[in-house]
Symmetry: C2
DNA sequence: ACGCTTAGGTCAATGCGTTGACATAAGGAG
DNA sequence: CTCCTTATGTCAACGCATTGACCTAAGCGT
């Protein structure tokens, strides 16, 4: 048999002190295992080292820093989100479905949400998502520049709001905020805040996520701007 | 003379090793000085200790953690943003102005942006902003529950997008992303990504901020939903 | 078979936020 | 004036991400 170097790009792997031979995929797997561990957010570089049976710093031979590792994980998740997404004939419905899919996927891994909203993974899965979305807007009758611009607006709003929702899921800090908010609303003075006082009965609903409302607003604005079949 | 304890809630302040007597306001001032320092992002608890002439851990006698300190700073900034904001008769224009004001203010202090988007400061300035915004939607003819819901959607979308824009301002990581994006767009295959290929000429514009576009979409969706003067 | 180069594992150290134990002076009570 | 309580400053330590120096064996050319 030939040496095992055939397909792999990396060679010269040396076994760690505990005998394991590292590979990028193996690191991503271990990291995902820690991220999804019971306590949640159990991923640290040091623990990853233990999980892999290697010195923590060995990870930096494969990923520039923790961000790069998280991005690699994120691209996997995008592909999972995309799998099974089949846009129908109604571009508005398809866009809505896409938005919800992204939102759900990001809530499933809050630790990665912030990164996914901000950074470009440059992976094929992200391009695939962009291609589908822009295709939808083109099918709605938008010109090429308008489709690009509007899709960018849409997807960035969806991503950033999803990241916001994900952040509120995180530790226990948010609970304290909710209490502070309830207290503030209970004691607000009608002289200082006449409008808040006027709608006081409806303020508690603020604990719900703004995501669905914003999603509908975006789609309705796009429908309004679209040169649809009924337009001149 | 009487002792100095008169107005202040805190008593028993002991001078630090270097003779300074700490106060919460003083800590906020020092922190803002570091945040706005040349290099940017120069704020660390340890440096704050040096700046104040105290042990870093002394700060934790005044703020539960760094987050709490940042929130205290954020409430100051909200008040600055609000100062000089005078809503005119046109609710759409006023909302637009408010959105831009928030966006600008958050870009001015990227370090605080993420926190301002997610956390509730419970300060009077935040309530003031909410009061004004909801007042605008009430004046547009929305019912109380609709005004609350729509304002929540609006302000959260503005906050989260502003945080996203602010994050892209941060270190040098983003530049690498832009390059990766440009490369990806230059080499994309028309077979795999037909729609992206079709709009290829317009993709470079993606580097612009999506904020203005989203702001207009939100306002136009609200205008559509509003039971305005011309509605039944 | 032998030596060279070097990828990649390991170690030690940096600065970070945060915390618990400890020390001490401020200020009230008598 | 003296004593006691306790707010608040200080110190040492934790685990964190990251990095530079090192060391060693994998796999090449000969």
């Amino acid at each position: 048999m030939a040496t095992t170097r055939a397909s792999s790009g990396r060679v010269r792997r040396r076994p760690t002190r505990s005998g394991v031979v590292l590979e990028p995929e193996m690191i991503i797997d271990a990291a995902l295992r820690l991220i999804e561990a019971p306590g949640g957010n159990a991923l640290t570089v040091r623990r990853l080292g233990v999980e892999l049976g290697a010195d923590p710093s060995a990870i930096y031979r494969y990923f520039r820093d923790l961000d790069a590792l998280l991005i690699a994980i994120a691209d996997r998740l995008i592909s999972e989100t995309l799998a099974g997404f089949e846009p129908g004939p109604d571009w508005k419905a398809a866009l809505r479905e896409m938005g919800r899919g992204v939102h759900d996927s990001m809530l499933r891994h809050p630790r990665l949400a912030q990164l996914r909203a901000i950074r470009f993974t440059a992976g094929p899965n992200e391009l695939r998502a962009d291609d589908i979305g822009i295709g939808l807007l083109l099918s709605a009758g938008f010109s090429a520049p308008d489709a690009v611009r509007h899709f960018r607006d849409f997807i960035d709003a969806v991503l950033s709001l999803a990241a916001m929702d994900a952040a509120e899921l995180a530790p226990g800090q948010e609970e304290a905020d909710k209490e502070a908010l309830a207290r503030a609303y209970a004691t607000l003075s009608p002289e200082d805040y006449p409008n808040l006082a006027a709608v006081r009965d409806h303020l508690p609903q603020i604990t719900a996520s703004p995501f669905p409302g914003v999603l509908e607003k975006l789609i309705s604005a796009l429908a309004l701007a679209a040169p649809g079949p009924s337009a001149p």
